[in-house]
C-alpha cells in the first residue's frame, strides 16, 4: 500500500546551529525545516546558506520530509537562497510572509528556471506558503491555487496578530478566525493546512490544549519550535479505531472499483473523490506512525 507523506509535525531548526541541525534529524518530526530566515542573524546568512545546502544535498536525513525556509520574497537574500535551496533538492521550499498569488507564481517560475539550469527534474520540489498577515489570509485561496507546486499553507500567528493589531494569548481566540479561514481556503484548494506554533516551550499542558484545538479544527499538522513538542503534537494525530476502520473501507472500495474498472466509486451511498482517498491514506499512515498494527484493526 502506498503511504502518504505525513505532515503532522514540522520542526524548525536554525541554519546557524550545526549541532541543532545534526540532532534534529533524530527526533520524531515528520517534516524538518532548515531555516535561513528568522533564526539566522543577517551577518550569518551566507554561512547558514552553505551549511544548509551541504546538509540537505549531501547528508539529507533519512525518512524525513525535508524543507528549506528561505528568506523573504523582497529580501536581498532571496535570489541566492533559491539558487542554493533548489540545488539542495529538498521535498519543499517554504516561503515566508506570502501575501499575493503573483509572489508565488514568480518564486515558482524562478524554481523552474533553476531546476532547468541545474539539469534537475522540473516540478518535483513542492512549495509551502507561510500565511503571516491579514493580506495573506484574505488571499489564501488564490495563493494556494497559484501554482501546482503549492501543497500546503502554514499559519504564522505572531506576525499575523501583529498585522491585525491583536494581542497574542495562550487561549488563541485572536487567531480563531484565521485558523478557520486558512482551513477553509486549504480545503477548497485541496492543499494541506498547517497550524501555528505554540510558543511557550515549557508549557506542555498548554501545548496539549492548543494541539487538541488544532486537531479538532481539522488541521493536517502543526509547526513546532522545540523538539520537546514533537511527541505531544504527534500523539494528537493518532487516529481512532473508527477512523482507521473507515479509512480501510474507503481504500477497499477504491481497490474494488479499480478491479471492476469503475469510473466513480461509492461508499455508503456517497461518492469517493481523490481528496477522500488521500485522507484515508493519511489516516493509515498516521496509524502506522503511532505504532498501530492496521491489519489487526480490520479484525
Amino acid at each position: 500500500m502506498q503511504t502518504a507523506k505525513l505532515k503532522r509535525t514540522s520542526l524548525y531548526v536554525s541554519g546557524a546551529s550545526p549541532i541543532n541541525m545534526i540532532q534534529a534529524a533524530f527526533y520524531n518530526e515528520d517534516c524538518l525545516v532548515y531555516d535561513l530566515e528568522d533564526s539566522v542573524p543577517n551577518s550569518e546568512k551566507d554561512d547558514a546558506r552553505l551549511v544548509v545546502y551541504n546538509t540537505v544535498r549531501y547528508h539529507r536525513p533519512a525518512n524525513k520530509y525535508v524543507i528549506i525556509r528561505v528568506n523573504g520574497i523582497y529580501s536581498e537574500y532571496i535570489d541566492e537562497d533559491l539558487e542554493a535551496a533548489v540545488r539542495a533538492n529538498p521535498d519543499a521550499i517554504r516561503i515566508p510572509k506570502v501575501e499575493y498569488k503573483e509572489e508565488v507564481i514568480r518564486i515558482c517560475q524562478r524554481i523552474t528556471e533553476i531546476e532547468k539550469a541545474a539539469g534537475m527534474q522540473v516540478g518535483k520540489i513542492e512549495v509551502w506558503c507561510n500565511i503571516e498577515s491579514y493580506l495573506g489570509l484574505i488571499n489564501a485561496y488564490e495563493i494556494a491555487t497559484a501554482d501546482e507546486r503549492v501543497v500546503a499553507l502554514a499559519l504564522g500567528a505572531e506576525d499575523f496578530t501583529a498585522s491585525m493589531k491583536s494581542h497574542r494569548t495562550k487561549e488563541g481566540l485572536e487567531i480563531f478566525y484565521a485558523r478557520n479561514a486558512l482551513l477553509t481556503a486549504c480545503r477548497h484548494a485541496g492543499v494541506e493546512a498547517i497550524d501555528a506554533v505554540f510558543s511557550d516551550i515549557n508549557d506542555l499542558e498548554g501545548l496539549k490544549e492548543d494541539t487538541a484545538l488544532t486537531r479538532n479544527l481539522g488541521f493536517d499538522g502543526k509547526t513546532c519550535v522545540h523538539p520537546r513538542q514533537i511527541d505531544v503534537v504527534n500523539s494528537f494525530f493518532t487516529p481512532s479505531k473508527k477512523e482507521i476502520k473507515y479509512a480501510l473501507r474507503v481504500l477497499q472500495a477504491v481497490e474494488e472499483g479499480k478491479k471492476q474498472k469503475k469510473g466513480a466509486v461509492t461508499l455508503d451511498g456517497s461518492m469517493i473523490d481523490k481528496p477522500m482517498e488521500l485522507r484515508a491514506r493519511t489516516t493509515l499512515a498516521q496509524a502506522e506512525a503511532a505504532g498501530i498494527n492496521v491489519e489487526e484493526e480490520l479484525l
Binding site: I22, Q23, F26, Y27, H59, H226, P227, R228, D231, A290, G291, I292, N293
Partner: protein, 520 residues
C-alpha cells in the same frame, strides 16, 4: 592469548598472572575461607581511640614502605581525606605504597600524580582513576606495576580472596564518636551511604576513621561499628560539602538526552517484567536521571509500585520513593545531597554494603534479583561490548563503576548513549577498551534507534514485548552505519606495547588491558 571478547593478552604482566575472561561465570573455590586481616586487639586507651593527629594515627598503625592503604570515594570530588592522609604519609617518609581506594575521582589539590612521582605511591588499584591521574597513567606515568581497574562488585571479592590485602584502611566519615562508630549520613559534610567501606572495615588489618564532626558517644546512626575501628582522628575539614553534594538531580534540558531517556523508559515499560514489584537501577548520568523521571511517569500511569531501586541513589529516585512509586531504596552510594540525607529520614531507604549490592561471589547479591539496569557508556561496538573508560584520544574519561555488575545481574540491561558526540562515534566496530562483555547487554538505546542484542538471554522475550508495544528496533550494524555516515571512520588509536592498566571483569578475570598511548 586471546580472551572470550577477542582481546589479545599476555600470559603474565610483571608478577600478575593473567586469567583470561572466559565468558561463562567462573566457579569459586567454596572451600577457601574468606580472608580478613582483622586482629583481636584492644585499642581504646583511657576510654578513647582518638589520636591527636593523622601522623600519630599512621605511626600507631605501623604503616611501612610497600604496604597497602585504602579509601572510599563516597565524598566524590569534594574529598579532602585522600590528600590529607597522603600528605601526612609523605611527611613521615613512607614510600612505595600500594594505593587501593574504591575509586579515584578527579581530585586535584593535592595531585595524586605528585605522590606517584615522589615515590609515596608506586602501585594503584581502583574501579576507576578518572582525571589527572588517569590521563597521566595512560600517557605512561611510571609505576611499579600496571594499574588494576575492576568493577565495584569485584573489589570486595578480591579483598576476600586475599589478593588485595589491606594494611591500613582510612575511612572518612561525616560523623563519628571517639570509639569509631561512624556514618556518612549526618553532619555538615554528609555523603550518605558508606557502602564501599564496609569491606575495608571488616578485612583491613588497621582501620582509621577520620572525621571533622566528632559527636558524643554513641554516634547515631552507626554505619560502621566501633568493633572494627582501631583509631579515630579529627581533622578540620573532611571535604568540600558543595562538591560532595554536587550533581544534585537537575533534569537535563538537552532534547537529545531527554529523547534517549524517554525511549529507554519506554523499553522498560513495554517489558512484561514491568509489573507490580519490579526492580530497577538507573544511575546518575544526565540521561539516567531523566530516565528515572520517565520511569516514574510510566509507573504512576500503570498504577504499579516497584519493589526496590538499587545502587547509587539520586534526588529523583528519593522523590519516587516519597510518592509511593518504589517501596525500598537499597543504597550503596548517594549521588547528591538530597539522597545523602534521605537515609536517616526514611526507614525504607537503606544503606547497604557495596558487596551486598554487586559481589557475584556472595551467597547472593542484590543484583541477582534486579529486573532493569540502565547503563551509560562511552562506546559500544557491534558485539555490544561496552567501553566506559577511555575516550576517543585514549584518555581516561571515567571509572568502570558497577556497570559490568549491573549488566550481568539485571534481567534487562539497557545501555543509553548518543549515537555521536561531536564527531566521535559512540557506536563503533570495536571498542578501544572492553569493560563489559556484550553478551550481558540486552538493549542499546540511542537517539537514532534502539537495537536488541540477539545473543542476550532476554532477546526473544524483549523482541516480542517491544513489537507488541509498537516500539521499532534496528540492528546494531544499522546504528554503526548511521554513526559512521555522520562522522566518517575514525583512525585507530596507536599504542605502544607497554600495558598501563589491567581491566578486570566482575569475576576477577582479565577482560582487557589498556596500552600506553603513542603520542607524536
Amino acid at each position: 592469548m586471546i580472551n572470550a571478547v577477542g582481546r589479545e593478552l599476555p600470559e603474565k604482566i610483571g608478577d600478575y598472572i593473567v586469567k583470561p575472561y572466559a565468558g561463562a561465570k567462573e566457579t569459586i573455590d567454596a572451600e577457601k575461607t574468606v580472608a580478613s586481616r582483622r586482629k583481636p586487639s584492644k585499642r581504646a586507651v583511657n576510654g578513647t581511640k582518638l589520636m591527636p593527629d593523622l601522623k600519630e594515627a599512621i605511626k600507631k598503625t605501623g604503616l611501612r614502605d610497600g604496604m597497602t592503604i585504602s579509601f572510599h570515594h563516597c565524598f566524590r570530588e569534594g574529598d579532602y581525606i585522600i590528600g590529607l592522609v597522603l600528605s601526612a604519609i609523605k611527611e613521615l617518609g613512607i614510600k612505595g605504597l600500594r594505593f587501593a581506594p574504591s575509586a579515584v575521582v578527579n581530585i586535584k589539590n593535592p595531585s595524586i600524580v605528585d605522590f606517584v612521582k615522589d615515590g609515596t605511591i608506586n602501585r594503584i588499584q581502583a574501579s576507576g582513576i578518572r582525571g589527572e591521574l588517569g590521563d597521566a597513567v595512560v600517557e605512561g606515568l611510571e609505576l611499579a606495576e600496571p594499574v588494576i581497574l575492576r568493577p565495584h562488585g569485584a573489589r570486595p571479592h578480591t579483598i576476600e580472596t586475599g589478593d588485595l590485602s589491606i594494611d591500613v584502611a582510612f575511612i572518612g566519615a561525616s560523623a563519628a564518636d571517639d570509639f569509631g562508630n561512624c556514618t556518612g549520613q549526618v553532619g555538615p559534610n554528609a555523603c550518605g551511604s558508606l557502602g564501599y567501606s564496609f569491606i575495608d572495615a571488616t578485612c583491613a588489618e588497621n582501620v582509621v576513621v577520620i572525621t571533622d564532626n566528632l559527636v558524643p558517644y554513641p554516634c547515631v546512626p552507626i554505619s560502621i561499628s566501633q568493633m572494627y575501628v582501631d583509631y579515630v582522628v579529627k581533622v578540620d575539614q573532611i571535604g568540600d560539602s558543595a562538591k560532595i553534594g554536587a550533581g544534585a538531580a537537575r533534569r537535563t534540558k538537552n532534547p537529545r538526552d531527554l529523547l534517549i531517556a524517554q525511549r529507554a523508559a519506554d523499553v522498560m515499560a513495554a517489558s512484561r517484567l514491568f509489573k507490580d514489584g519490579y526492580s530497577f537501577q538507573t544511575g546518575a548520568g544526565a540521561i539516567s536521571i531523566a530516565c528515572t523521571d520517565f520511569l516514574a511517569e510510566h509507573t504512576e500511569k500503570a498504577g504499579i509500585v516497584a519493589s526496590y531501586a538499587l545502587g547509587g541513589m539520586t534526588a529523583n529516585i528519593v522523590e519516587m520513593h516519597k510518592k509511593g512509586l518504589v517501596n525500598t531504596l537499597l543504597c550503596s552510594q548517594s549521588f547528591d545531597a538530597v539522597a545523602a540525607r534521605a537515609i536517616v529520614e526514611n526507614p525504607n531507604i537503606i544503606e547497604i554494603d557495596n558487596s551486598m549490592y554487586a559481589n557475584m561471589f556472595n551467597k547472593s547479591c542484590a543484583l541477582d534479583k534486579l529486573n532493569f539496569g540502565v547503563l551509560g557508556a562511552l562506546e559500544i561496538d557491534v558485539d555490544f561490548n561496552i567501553n566506559i573508560l577511555t575516550g576517543s584520544n585514549g584518555e581516561m574519561m571515567s571509572g568502570i563503576g558497577g556497570g559490568p555488575d549491573v549488566a550481568d545481574g539485571a534481567d534487562i540491561s539497557i545501555v543509553t548513549l548518543p549515537i555521536v558526540r561531536g564527531r566521535i562515534p559512540s557506536v563503533v566496530d570495536r571498542v578501544f577498551t572492553c569493560c563489559t562483555p556484550g553478551s550481558s547487554v540486552a538493549v542499546v538505546v540511542t537517539e537514532a534507534g534502539i537495537a536488541l542484542n540477539p545473543k542476550h538471554k532476554s532477546y526473544e522475550m524483549l523482541k516480542e514485548d517491544l513489537q507488541k508495544a509498537g516500539i521499532k528496533t534496528v540492528s546494531i550494524e544499522e546504528l554503526l552505519k548511521i554513526a559512521y555516515s555522520l562522522t566518517g571512520v575514525p583512525k585507530p588509536i596507536e599504542t605502544t606495547d607497554k600495558i598501563t592498566c589491567i581491566v578486570e571483569y566482575r569475576d576477577g578475570t582479565v577482560i582487557d588491558v589498556i596500552r600506553e598511548i603513542k603520542r607524536d
